[in-house]
Each structure stands twice: as structure tokens, then as C-alpha cells.
Symmetry: C2
Subunit: 342 residues, 2 copies
């Protein structure tokens, strides 16, 4: 059943039917009723392809997920992020398009999405420092929102981000207050912008107390359990081993815990651990009582906010760049305690 057929059945022109259904004022209220009920009765759904062509809008937004071809690691936060944003899209009648592309094809993917008109805007995931995508997208004129920020980009752009620097600064201060002096940083890959910010927050806190960050206690890897374990093994087998760990993710934290317990030590008593908790739906940090002390910020919420921002930008392309900085909360779990006396 298409518009023309429906119009014929009603003895009206397609124009009037279209207007009636889309709430235009120039149609008699009685007629509108008649049209709406007939549409419902015949189960009429306007063809999305035709609408898109006629209106020149894609009614869709793209999420381009870069896939590092070497590591092949999907960012595990990604599914929660789109769970948050997907809801916003469907509420607004937008489709969510996903492209998983190898790193090096990402720019051409944007160009393609733009010139073929498949999307009205995109979300940029996992920005690196000095990320070239921002420039590209600005030049293309494709509306976009970055999840995170990119240090070094001298342009202004839309973003939603967590205050990563502050979160790690606070976490470090917390450990220092507990008496820890040898704090290992188990960071994410520091090509990623968020990881750099986290390291800065950490070292800032150390400096503020007159301490020098120790390179031997810092690692920067992909945020997996195994890498967390490795980092902990390294930091714990030194002559002056770490007494506390600051981890960029729950998975790394779990790896650190494995290392601690594998040595017959007890997390929270012998060694303290703080993680950054993205509040992933399938990786909850305990239920009633948190397992890990953590700086927490929901990535699903970030997805929701980013999607809302993007839709706003699409509707108001000339509006000035928008920013949203979320603060992570510091929640107390069982994984931290006073530094053991020597």
C-alpha cells in the first residue's frame, strides 16, 4: 500500500493525504481524521526510501568504528555506548548505521557516507591525540560529535567526554592519602587521547605532593585482562614493588587481581587497586557492594548524550560547537586500604 493507492481509495490527491498524515495545517480536520484512520486501517507505512530522496535527508546517523587491523580488538565499551545512543535515535525516527572499517579506510568512509548521502551526521569514536578525522569532517561539512576529545586539534568541535584527567588525579590523591607511595599506572594505549589525559591527571597528583612518577611502574597497553595481569606481574616483581594500582579499565583490574592473588596476596589488604569503571552492563563492578574502588562514569549515558547532541547539531547546523564534560564519581569498594607498613 503506497501513498497513491491510499489516496485513490480515499478519493483524494496524494498531496492532501501526505499533508494530512504529516500534520500540515492546510487540511480540513474532518478530512485528516478520515485519512489517518484509513492509513491505520490499511496499515500504510510511508516508504522510507522515497522520503529520503524527496526530503534530501538520510534520517540516519553513522557510527564508524575503527578496527585496528593488527590487534583486531573491538573496544568493549562500544556496545554499551550504542545501547545508549540507539535509544535516542529510535525515539527520533533515525536509523543507526554502523561501519566497521580498518583504520586506514576511515577517512574515505566518511567521504563516502557524506557524498552518497547515507547519513546526516556521524559519531567519532576513540579519538587519538591530533586526530586527523576532525579536520576531515569539518572540511566535508558533515555534522559530527566526538566521543572524547583530541588534544592538538586547534579547531572547535562538538564533543561529549568524561573528565579523565580529574578522575585519575582524584584516584591518585586517594591512594596517596592512604599512604601509598609506589602507585603503578596500568593505562590504556597512549595514542588514545583519553589515556594521555589520564596519565596527566595521575602525574599531576604526584607532582602536587612532591613525588616523581616512576616510569618503571607505568604501562600503556590495550585494555585487556591479560595485559593487566602482565603489567601487575612486572610491577610486583621489582625490588621495590608497587603497593597500589591505578587501572584504566575493569578488565585490566581483573588481570591485576589475578596477579595479586596468584602471589598469595590479598587485594585491598596487601595491594590496593582502583579502576576506571565504565559501568558496562555486562561488567558490573559488583552489585550491592562494589568489588573495586573505582572512578565511575556510565558510557551508556555518554552515548545517550552524544546522540542527543548530534541530533541537535543536525537540526541546527549553524549552531556553535557544543561541549559536555562529565565528571566521574569516586566510589569506594573493597579493593583499597592503607598502605602496608614496612
Amino acid at each position: 500500500m503506497n501513498l497513491k493507492e491510499l489516496a485513490a481509495k480515499l478519493g483524494l490527491s496524494p498531496t492532501t493525504v501526505s499533508r494530512a498524515l504529516n500534520g500540515y495545517p492546510e487540511v480540513n480536520e474532518a478530512t485528516r481524521e478520515r485519512v489517518v484512520s484509513a492509513a491505520r486501517r490499511h496499515n500504510y507505512r510511508p516508504n522510507a526510501r522515497a522520503i529520503r530522496l524527496a526530503t534530501g535527508r538520510a534520517l540516519a546517523v553513522g557510527h564508524v568504528i575503527p578496527l585496528d587491523t593488527r590487534s583486531e580488538i573491538m573496544n568493549p565499551i562500544f556496545s554499551d555506548f550504542i545501547a545508549g545512543s540507539g535509544e535516542v535515535y529510535s525515539r527520533n525516527g533515525f536509523d543507526m548505521l554502523l561501519s566497521i572499517v580498518p583504520d586506514e579506510l576511515e577517512e574515505s568512509t566518511y567521504r563516502d557516507l557524506m557524498s552518497r548521502g547515507t547519513v546526516d551526521g556521524v559519531i567519532v569514536h576513540a579519538p587519538k591525540t591530533n586526530d586527523p578525522r576532525i579536520r576531515t569532517l569539518k572540511d566535508l561539512g558533515l555534522p559530527f560529535v566526538v566521543h572524547g576529545r583530541s588534544t592538538g586539534a586547534d579547531l572547535d568541535y562538538n564533543w561529549v567526554d568524561v573528565n579523565n584527567r580529574r578522575a585519575f588525579q582524584r584516584a591518585t590523591e586517594f591512594l596517596l592519602d592512604l599512604g601509598h607511595r609506589r602507585i603503578a599506572l596500568v593505562n590504556g594505549l597512549e595514542v588514545m587521547d583519553f589515556a594521555v589525559r589520564r596519565r596527566i591527571g595521575h602525574t599531576d597528583a604526584l607532582h602536587a605532593r612532591g613525588l616523581e612518577p616512576e616510569l618503571r611502574l607505568m604501562s600503556s597497553t590495550e585494555m585487556t585482562e591479560v595485559n593487566g595481569w602482565r603489567a601487575a606481574e612486572a610491577a610486583l616483581s621489582q625490588p621495590e614493588p608497587a603497593t597500589a594500582f591505578l587501572c584504566a579499565s575493569m578488565l585490566q583490574g581483573m588481570g591485576v587481581r589475578r596477579s595479586i592473588e596468584g602471589r598469595g596476596l590479598k587485594m585491598g589488604r596487601d595491594i590496593s587497586v582502583i579502576i576506571f569503571d565504565d559501568d558496562l552492563s555486562y561488567l558490573r563492578n559488583g552489585e550491592d557492594v562494589p568489588i573495586f574502588t573505582a572512578t565511575r562514569s556510565s558510557v551508556k549515558e555518554a552515548g545517550k548524550l552524544a546522540a542527543e547532541m548530534l541530533l541537535a547539531v543536525i537540526n541546527q547546523p549553524e549552531s556553535p560547537p557544543q561541549h559536555r564534560l562529565l565528571e566521574a564519581e569516586l566510589i569506594l569498594g573493597q579493593s583499597t586500604g592503607p598502605a602496608p607498613a614496612f
Copy 2:
């Protein structure tokens, strides 16, 4: 730059240009060259919206992810699955559309996708026993492939699945051979079809050795770390505690390990653990040496196969239903050993 403009620039009709670019035979090879190079030079990309309308194809497939509104848990395997399928789509010029919808809206989502013509087919995720979606999709005539199977559906349909029954049967046999007699099953939610099959595999293996499955050692929950820990706590604090665990996922296995180590026991020596390993990119089971003994089957590979099957079905709608049953491999890790002597 659109087709008409390009044609004008070349002094040709839009028809000829279209044909030249789409490889139709009735155009002079010299003309084609001229057209193709001009298209490249002017960076011409056909408008996807127009193509879709003209051809009546959506050039897109949908992945509808049901979101249980109570638990709000995203299935963690999902991101790897689409990493696999996404690659296939983009290689074939298809878009991947994601809808995250509350359980109860799922059917209407399919109806909508179909009647508005936004997709040419869909992948059905996380089938339950007797899943009503299969009937719905058959009736709608929308091509689909199920990731998994649905016991009880008397219709034939396209699916890609792992031999879950066999995997758990083999794992159980392996533990029995090691001398274990009290094996705890830490299963997924048994509304899910795959979980039922796994339980059957497990109990089949027990029966074959003349053993009765013990309900007190079986749990069926969402596959999270915390739930794994809980199940282990329960199974280990019984008067006759379990000596081995069979877990439906890596995360549950990690929870079980936490419980074991929290009791000062050692996994692999005191208590054996086997997991089902989906080979998730961000949850690798160790690197060189697997941490867990596991039945492994790559969910990313399954995504790839499902996508290929779906595209085939879309191109050949009248073909008979296709099936693909993958076998999980049993890999030996450090988490299993002979049952401790009493």
C-alpha cells in the same frame, strides 16, 4: 555532482553514463573509459537515496538487538559478532543497520523495517526456545538468518549455530575422565535456546556414565562475572562441594576463579574449571598459553558466516533454507587437572 551534471559535462545522456558506470554491455569501450575517468576526476558518487528508490532495494541489512528492559544487559558477544558481519557487508556494498529495541517492541520493529523498506533482510540475535520472531519473519517474507536455533519452531529457516550440546558434552566427558564426579554447571539463562542445549549436552554426558545430574550444582543466570562468583560460592559451600565447574562464558569463569582464590584454593589444582570461550577480541583466553581449558568457537567467525548467508538469501530468495553448524574445539588450559583424592 550528480548524474545529470556529469552527463552534461561529457556531452552524453544520463542513460549512457549510468550504463557505462554500471558495466552494461551496450556501451562502447572507449566511451566507458571516458565516463569512468571523468567520474573519478569529478569525484562523482551516485546518490544512495536515489539508487535505493529506483532499484527498490535497501542495500542494507538490519541487526535487531533485543534489550531486556529489566536487566538492561547488552550481550557482550554482540560487538564481536557485528565486527565479523560488518566486514562482509561493507565488502558487498551493504549498510548495516542497528536497532536496539526493548524486548516487547521487537516484532513491531521487524514489521516496520519491512514495510518501510529500510532493510533487505535481518539477522536474528539471541533466539529463545520457541521464539515467536521466526514465525513473524516467515509471515512477513523478510529474509533472515538466525544466530543460533530455536527449539520448537516447526518451520525450517536459515541459521548459523555452534554445536552447543556437543561442546558441553565433550567438556563434561573430559572432566569425568579426570575423575571429577561433582561438576557444577554455571549456565546462561535457560530461556535462551543455546543454554538449554548446553545443559542437555552436560546431562547427556553424565547419564552416559550412569550419573545423575544434581540440581544443587546447577545455576542458570545472566552470564556476568558476579553471577559466576555467586554460583561458585553456592557450589563450594555445600557439604559435598563441587570439584569442577563448567561455565557458559569467560566472564562467569572469571567469577568462579575469584571465588576459588578467595577461599585460598588454586584453580587447576584444587578445583577444575572449563569455560565456553567465544574468542572475543577483548576477552582473550590468555595469549600463548590459555588460562582456561575451554570449548572455543569464534563468535566473530559466526558473524561473518551469518552475514554471508544472509546476503546469499537476499540474492536468492527462493533458495531452500540454509544451515551451518560449527563445532567448538576443546583447548587445554591451566584450569583443569585430576580430581583431588579424598
